[in-house]
Amino acid sequence: MKTDTAQQGIYVHIPFCRSRCAYCGFVSSVCEHSDKDYVEALVHEIRERVSGTVDSVYFGGGTPSVLTGGLLKKIVKALRECAEFSADCEITTEANPDSFTDGFAAEAGECGVNRISFGMQSLNNDILAAAGRRHTAEQALAAVERAKLFGFENLSCDLMLGLPCSSEKDVIASVKTLCEQDIKHLSVYALSVEKGTPLYERGYKVDDDAAADVYEKVCLQLKGYGFERYEVSNFSKRGYECKHNKKYWTLAPYVGLGVAAHSYDGTRRSFNTSDIAGYIAGLRDERRETVTASDALEEYVMLGLRTAEGIDSNRASELCGCEWEQLKSRELNELIKLGMLERTLKGFKLSEKAYYVMNDIIVRLV
């Protein structure tokens, strides 16, 4: 199925990791020998599914930085053959500090990658070790240096709240160090311990109150460094918001390529198989679901409230086919009274104190 919607995003999933992190429940594989076959299969899928204009490409994982020796190039080449990249196309790759080598940096640069997102999680070596990360804080900072050396300027880092052994002090220190490296974008995620992950097996539980405290502190700290929170977990210098991720929150279409990748074409979501061997052998869609009008409204509210912009009542009304504000007037008024929602020119956004308890608010509004 070819998609022709203007200005679409492309997500490419690279499922390989050199080891598995203690909190990870994601589809990835620690075996390395089938890289080549996997990329072969990806190229096939690209030829089947990609066309039109693309304004964002995102390599996620897993660990895309394990793709070396021309593999990344091969994928990008196939993409460029099938679709036209807009002039301002954002091309991001996630990278792990330990595998972000000169070789990978050079190849990424040649492919036109213009944004690197480092999975750092912390800059404290004890915490990194407890989380099963392969890299040290020193390696992480070296990777940032290397990226700059290779001419990458739009750099993002991921940090995680609530990891074992972590404290408010560590997180604040990590944020400080990264800001001093002039990174442009920071994602701060709260750890959720999922079934089947090593942390879950160990019986680890996050102290939610402590995580919420740290989150509030980090928000203030980042404001001081000139970052804006444009989504609950995402902070950037002005103009450096991640174009690709914003597509998810605004229900823009995107094509997900690779094993376990998700796609959305504006009316339908589809899901690739999560079996790597099967994918290499040519299996594709595992299931599809049509996004009904009520689903679309639900998704719009759920995702829109994550952003600083909030939700537009007109768009909500379009999606539900009636006056949305009227439909939800009791809930909206109650939430405003509780100080959880604020009116904007176009609709509503979460108030400062509501960001970290948004699930309960979303559930009331959908």
């Binding site: 994602s187 995620y189 959720s192 939610d208 960001y355 970290y356 309960d360 559930v363 959908v366």
Partner: protein, 600 residues
Amino acid sequence: MERQKHIRNFCIIAHIDHGKSTLADRLIERTGTVSSRELTEQILDSMDIERERGITIKLTPVRMKYSYGGEEYELNLIDTPGHVDFTYEVSRSLAACEGAVLIVDATQGVEAQTLANVYLAVDNNLEIIPVINKIDLPSARPEEAKKEIEDVIGLPADEAPLVSAKEGLNIEAVLDKIITDVPPPSGNESAPLKALIFDSYYDNYKGAVCLVRVIDGQVKSGTKIRMMHSGKEFDVTEVGIFNPKPLEWEALSAGDVGYVCASIKNVADTAPGDTITDANNPTAEPCPGYKKVQPVVYCGIYSSDGSKYNDLKDALEKLKLNDAALFFEPEVSVALGFGFRCGFLGLLHMEIIQERLEREFNLDLITTAPGVNYRVYKTDGEMVTVTNPGNLPNPSEIDRIEEPYVKALVFTPPEYIGSIMELCQDKRGTYINMVYLDKSRVQLEYEIPLNEIVYDFFDSLKSRTRGYASLDYEVKGYKPEELVKLDVLLNNEICDALSIIVHRDKAYARGRSIAEKLKEVIPRQLFEIPIQASIGNKVIARETVKAMRKDVLAKCYGGDISRKKKLLEKQKEGKKRMRQVGSVEVPSEAFMSVLKLDDK
């Protein structure tokens, strides 16, 4: 008269677990009433709940044939419920018999409930045949059990058959004893019809079916009958016996046990204890001992899914068809919406009804704390009865409140006397008497408010005595007490479904433990929730559920929106199980959790 000489009507009296149902099964098996192929364990317990709990609630009579001394006899076994809630039903069943087999567990001896039922049997002039059961167990002490029967009950027990119902040992000895010791019925077959209803059940095709013991005269299809207490008249459509399944029979005559159908639509018209007579040729006097059954314990029952009110109503109506003792009327709670105030014979009856509603009708219930029937005397002289704390008049209008109290008999090994006395004291009990039944058993008698019994007395008694003590009680009357209404406020609003009526001296402790319990079960929400217990305007306990700090989904991995949606769906489902009380969401369990508080 000749025919009646070959009839024996008897019942079995036993404490729970002493083997009543098992012995009944063996008697049925040994007399060949049911072929061994058809024999499932405990035939007479027909409800699932009865089998699972190993207790008998509903009575099912059975007719057996047995030869003794070359002559054939007809034995009618009338099973009796072995629980304090059903004392009146037991007394009616006993009134239908001439004899009772008293089972005593060779390892445990006589228990409170057994003794209470033995007294009932003695009151009904029954011949009592002691039987020592479970002699197969290594811990059996048959000689001590016999001595206890003689000392405690005052019955000669040296000839008591030693049996093992489980192993089928010595069952004939019991049958022989029934023939030789239980007197035959001595009614007058040619006198006007007089039949005692000892139970009834509802049949979809036949209507209400009366289980009867014919005292005098005869009843058959076509007889025009009158219920002597209700005065209602019906035409008999069918009579029969239990074999143990219902079997149509030509007629039931003096001495017989069987059933009578007369297109009766309502089991309330077949009240146990009522007397059936011939409308055209009535007997002079009804059978003695009739009582109108009154509920003793009340609670509110609501469907946890508010939209299922009608399903709940249908279910209660269906149960009521078969259970005239069940009482219910609609009530409205601010917190729980539309539901019913239900009245029961006791705590077990209440549990059984709740369990049947959930199991047989697939309903999720919210029940409020069980309470009793209070008599409230107002300053203007009017007396109102209150079963729902929400209906208590304004304190300024109340002159006094009277509460029901019971005579409670506790049987216990002596080492627990201190602990039990402490418990009874704590439950506002008044000491009446203490008797050493023998060196290993003591009978304690107290007067205790029923309110305290329905709260957690039984559980506390069991836990303090490691299960060794047994309890029997009967409601004696009403006494004025210092009773107050304890309210619970959630976020400063009264939650009516949590209000209880409690003694003033107990209010502080109860209020504190309810607030603590609620703090555990009410999840954190967007704002801080004060939980307060109060009497009138005076707050006596306070807890706080802190505001929720973190409730947010982690990142969208590669645009995995549907996973997020599923998590939110789950959260939404969870919310559906909550009751909105003012601005606070309260989980259904919260209403139940305050019922069972720890015995601290």
